[in-house]
Symmetry: D2
Subunit: 452 residues, 4 copies
């Protein structure tokens, strides 16, 4: 029976099926076959091997009737990770089998094959991140003007709009997308170096073979083989971890704002969903929690991948081999969180009435900064601050409205009229640039899309 | 097709089948069934539910004909992790199904079930660690007297014996085993608290039910439910990470000492083993590398698990859920490294001749400390040190034997005879307590085993 | 001007002065001096060096007039970490200076010296952890009966008491203390091995010198030198990280429960404290935040220390040297968080009225589990659960009290009387074993203290 | 007495004085003063405050006679991180003091101030990284043709040149520099948002003030305040960690290749340097070790910083405050490793004779791949591989030269002449593209510099 990410139970908590397919046994082996086919074709291109041989190898990679289970068994007994696949393709290629893996080293194939998988994986991750950004952007537009308490240090700070909160997410998500795109562009590099990276095994034609190989497989040409230089992979995994941290922030905030006391948001509820096995009233933000749990696991891999950069000598499988588990896990688990976040945001329940109501629970306190700045015009910042500390404390201790207490304060009354006080203590008069910033962030995003 | 730890390719690099079985879908579900059966029996013990109901539930958990795939599918659609299993057992229990999961909360079952799996997992890990220790101890006895260069800062420092190096590993391995045993004893605690940990759902009989439940399931009774206190799990995972670090140290040292230049050790070679796909002369210490790669992945989970201790309020699935992937991964990958290390050490190739030869490559330099202490008896530490710095530098620069250069140094000749110099520069005269420490460490180990 | 932990600004956010003293330059050097004095005395004990020499060296370590700045400068130019201190003590010891550092290697002194500092540090940490536990225990007793909403998944789950929440902390804190005590007992081991750990430099008298040294310095005798076995330190740092995680959980929970919407707790407020530079109404739980920030930094060192276990060959300063920064930082920052947590808890503001009020905000929903179990007595668990899902949803959608809606449900009315419904929907009737568990946890703690 | 990074002892192991200055107490406070001055000037620019007030505030920031110690003391008592500095500047600004900190929130000042420090820090890090790259590039050119064993899996793999190894470092270093430059460009953004990021406190003139502020302080304008969006900082710290990993790889490799058995490289030795306190022959690669130890500490901060991205609500000091220690530490420790690496590489001792000699220790085995490819031309890859496995094993077991054994093998003799065999087994005939790749990497670097 399957375990961990394939476990019949756990696969419904972590990961996504679409990403599992990218990193399953068959696609892994297939990505090696594709690499060998392109290598043979490149070698045929420069006349190193017969064109018919390349064609026969290519045909063999398409037969797709190799026995993945059998390959697995032979890996177990022979201790060599790639040999059983080399042998399978060699056998399937008939006479031309002798040209399979010509001049390559194991890591040329596994690294290039992994790049093909990463290309597919990024073709899932990047659109998923873009879709999430688009959803948040639409929400930001919709709730551009919806007032809400801005909270810092867990306390009410100043009023803002819900759109403004969302615009901050859009702004950050755009940066994650940009960094991801850069990391993807940087990482998609072919690997072909032979045993020591010097391409000695390809003789005089090494350079043209490398050129043709990169062209055929559609990956960038490396300045030098990267058997021992894993920085691009570390940079990529770091960006996956960064995106995970962003999703975690979003999902935890949605969960937090869905608490009984705040109640401003909630993840969408399924018809058939069971909230709790024993508490029928509960609607747990379970998608938020699962998503965040996945993100934590993804982030945990970032320092491991970074440590793998520090290999011994020219190549070191004590480092590189760990990538074979780490990279698939990272992508599979992250994509689960991407899908959860998509579901959460696309069906997000927003309760404007609660946002409005919560703005009032400090009885005007949330407007204290604004009042202070109003007073400071007349009194200077320090005196205004001290006055407001006094008034705010009194209001809190007596559980009275800030405006009321303020109206009774002699200095305040000297410099402010009753109308001014009323205007000042109304939170919705202190949204600042909330809306304008929403507009700007969305315009920036549109401009960027227009460019792209 | 399977992925990551189940992948047909990767499963031959990471993990072990025996540990996969502990954490596979069926055993996970079975551990929940066992928990429900014990709960029902405990409730019957105190007269809370009919004894027949408990018997019927127990029988249902033995039928073992539930459809794990179907349970998986329902988890996907219903969003609840446990409900489909509850329903499966309820259905299988006929009339008594109404008593399934009585008074329990989801986490009572998943936590207790996980403890049952951890108990099985530790029954693999601890004997495996003991076997490795036993092998190292036997090697330490065998190579008690084999001289070898002690290396610090990558440089030859002073002579020692290979047995002494191994005795250090034994000494440390014993501590890892002791800490693991403690962590295991601490962690194997039942969970039964109901929704908030207060056992409100069990009414007046809560306490006796808890007692009976713990007795029946064979786990310690918690002082208080640990839905939100994951420290014992974090302590356990930390010890798994510590053991991984130890295995990593051993495997990397074996690999390092098998380098072309040192050549003192080598992991065992298979008959059919292919060293390299292109370099026929190579015998890569591939088991060492795979083992170390696995250890790095295990260590990477330690800080993640520690971060999961910091949950929100009484319970927090954004923390707890991550354990469901992390714990199985940790055990499965670690056991792979345990098995590799076992294979490496039980068939370890030792090359005494190379150890002897390497002792000579510094041309007496490795004995310089001993010579210095010999001189210091007469000259004091500082003067002796300065003299030896001079002599050692000259010997190195002129590529001559230390003894030779020393014999020509006037001060040295004043205080040391030719025989004394000859004796002093022979590395095998400076093994210190190497052998005695081997004896002591092995005696300590025996004493401890005798006690246990 | 000072930086980081000594920075005039930052030192008021992170760390404590009492712990800075343990790890400052002078105490570090003094701990080496103490080690050298004990070594000389041990050597005099066994007749290896003259008793007068040991006495002179001991006297020199007491003069305390060495120039720490000058030692620092010489470390910079000579590249050797310890030589300037050896030279300072040698010079201060007159004729007997020749016996300073006799037969020892650098790491013997730095490791043993660090143990002396760790002994002092733990004499701060452990009582601090005990004091915090005692405060929480007192609070648990005081609020044993104060009802409060139990929250899981950020949602109200079931009622409990505030004392019950605190008892869970006591229970976990006791485990942290126990693990810390074990780790401290394990780690306080002397180091004396000479260059390769074989004690070759001490000749025949190596063993008695080691015995006498350990006795004089008051540290346990190592089975074998631990120059390359850093597991005990890693175990200690892990426990510091575990304690940090616990403090972080407590501080974040206090902060969270002090939010405007919940308002059940607050850290103590200073008279002169400025809440915010611009928001006069704010009373930020700034101690909670600083404490948690420190805890995060401490936890970040755990995996680093664990990685340092994996040294190269017999000794490896690329690993060991990192401890020299990591261990002091860990202790200094942790002690800051211990002090913050002490302040927070010893002056904790508790608002029982808010706890009572919050219990009602789900309009009976928080009692839904209890109602369900009441119904289940008659209807079975499944039917009761389905009924309650329906009733709870209706109550929520119509913003009505659960009891009201329940009273109108035909099935419910069949099996429950109006009084039974009224009793069932009152949260304070569903505290379960909250109070009894408080009593048990506190009794367990008392029993343990009695024993100790 | 100072501790940790300022400790008189430790400061000579970790960090650099030039970077300590960037992050010392005075420069931290000064960076806040600069921020306030620019803010006042920006507000004067748009007519929000009198030009004279801005001038007076600016003048006050230049007086530089504030008492940093006193500010520190007041932070301790008042619990507010910034207020004492605000008050100091306010007092120093006379009448205009009332305009200090106008409309700003604490984090506006601390974040912007930190950007000024990071700008200075990066002006040290980036040139240091460039200098190291330049040194490696010069070494690569010098040793372009020096043959050397390429080592994989700790074993000799194929021949290459030392220049080729260095070229790989250049290639990777260039990528680190590029990523650092990007991260720096991304991160240097001003912060000005007021309490909730909405700039409500600046009223109608918020936007023009923000524009003027960014222009005056020379930092980019944020799309939206980043009080709660720390991704740019996390991206920067990650790049610092990446660079640390690169330095660690270089330093560990230099140390490794300086081992007694390999002896191909050594870090420069000081005249007055003491190798070991007891082993006069030793020349420990202590700079390599210290540098690597520092790098590990830097890498340890990467996941912590990434976790700080996940703040609560709009702002969360439990996250942000940790940066105040983490960022300075990261830069200070990293710069120590940069300086060590610079010293190591600029004075690197290279021993070509040892490189030549080591190429021979496998008795032709290192050329086995080349021989196999020679044979494969005639026999096909599989048959050639099998033949070479046999020949290589025989050569190793009998400790004979590969060429000799090969000459006696009937199949080999059939397809290869004695001259061909002699040519094939000479490692220096199999350098592959080593030299051409050195040329290409250096040309790429030149081209990039030309562009820049």
């Amino acid at each position: 029976m399957p375990t961990t990410l394939d476990c019949l139970v756990m696969r419904n908590v972590f990961g996504s099926d679409r990403m599992r397919q990218v990193f399953d046994s068959r696609n892994m082996i297939q990505s090696w076959f594709e690499t060998w086919a392109c290598l043979a074709e490149a070698q045929a291109d420069v006349g190193m091997i017969p064109a018919e041989a390349a064609a026969e190898i290519r045909a063999a990679t398409r037969r797709d009737d190799y026995d993945a289970e059998e390959i697995g068994r032979k890996i177990a007994t022979g201790r060599h990770f790639l040999m059983p696949s080399i042998n399978a393709l060699t056998a399937a290629s008939g006479e031309s089998g002798r040209y399979v893996h010509w001049g390559a080293t194991t890591q040329d194939i596994t690294d290039t094959g992994m790049m093909l998988q990463i290309r597919q994986a990024m073709a899932i991750v990047e659109p998923a991140a873009e879709e999430i950004t688009a959803i948040v952007a639409r929400l930001a537009a919709r709730y551009r003007d919806q007032p809400m308490a801005g909270r810092t240090h867990w306390q009410h700070a100043v009023p803002m709009t819900f759109g403004f909160k969302l615009a901050q997410w859009v702004d950050e998500l755009e940066r994650h997308r940009e960094r991801l795109a850069r990391a993807r562009a940087d990482v998609l590099v072919a690997e072909l170096g032979g045993a020591g990276g010097t391409l000695a095994s390809l003789g005089d034609k090494a350079d043209p073979v490398l050129d043709a190989f990169c062209r055929r497989i559609g990956l960038a040409k490396p300045g030098v083989a990267w058997h021992g230089s894993r920085d691009r992979l570390a940079a990529l995994v770091n960006e996956l971890g960064m995106l995970a941290a962003m999703l975690e922030k979003i999902c935890l905030e949605v969960g937090r704002l869905s608490s009984a006391e705040i109640g401003e948001l909630h993840e969408p509820r399924n018809k058939g969903q069971v909230g709790s096995s024993t508490m029928p009233q509960k609607h747990n933000p379970i998608l938020c929690e699962r998503s965040a749990a996945g993100c934590r696991l993804v982030r945990g891999m970032v320092p491991v991948m970074q440590s793998l950069m520090i290999g011994v000598h020219e190549r070191d499988m004590a480092s590189v081999a760990a990538e074979w588990l780490l990279i698939p896990q990272c992508f599979i688990v992250l994509d689960g969180s991407l899908q959860y976040t998509h579901t959460i945001l696309s069906g997000l329940q927003v309760f404007p009435a609660r946002m409005d109501a919560n703005l009032g629970i400090t009885r005007g306190g949330i407007a204290a900064e604004a009042v202070m700045f109003g007073l400071a015009q007349q009194l200077g910042r320090t005196e205004a601050h001290d006055l407001m500390v006094e008034v705010a404390r009194e209001a809190m201790e007596q559980r009275r409205d800030l405006g009321e207490v303020l109206s009774e304060h002699p200095t305040a009354r000297e410099v402010l009229s009753a109308e001014e006080i009323a205007r000042l203590v109304d939170p919705t008069n202190h949204l600042g640039l909330s809306q304008r910033i929403v507009d700007r962030v969305l315009a920036d995003r549109d401009a960027r899309s227009g460019q792209a």
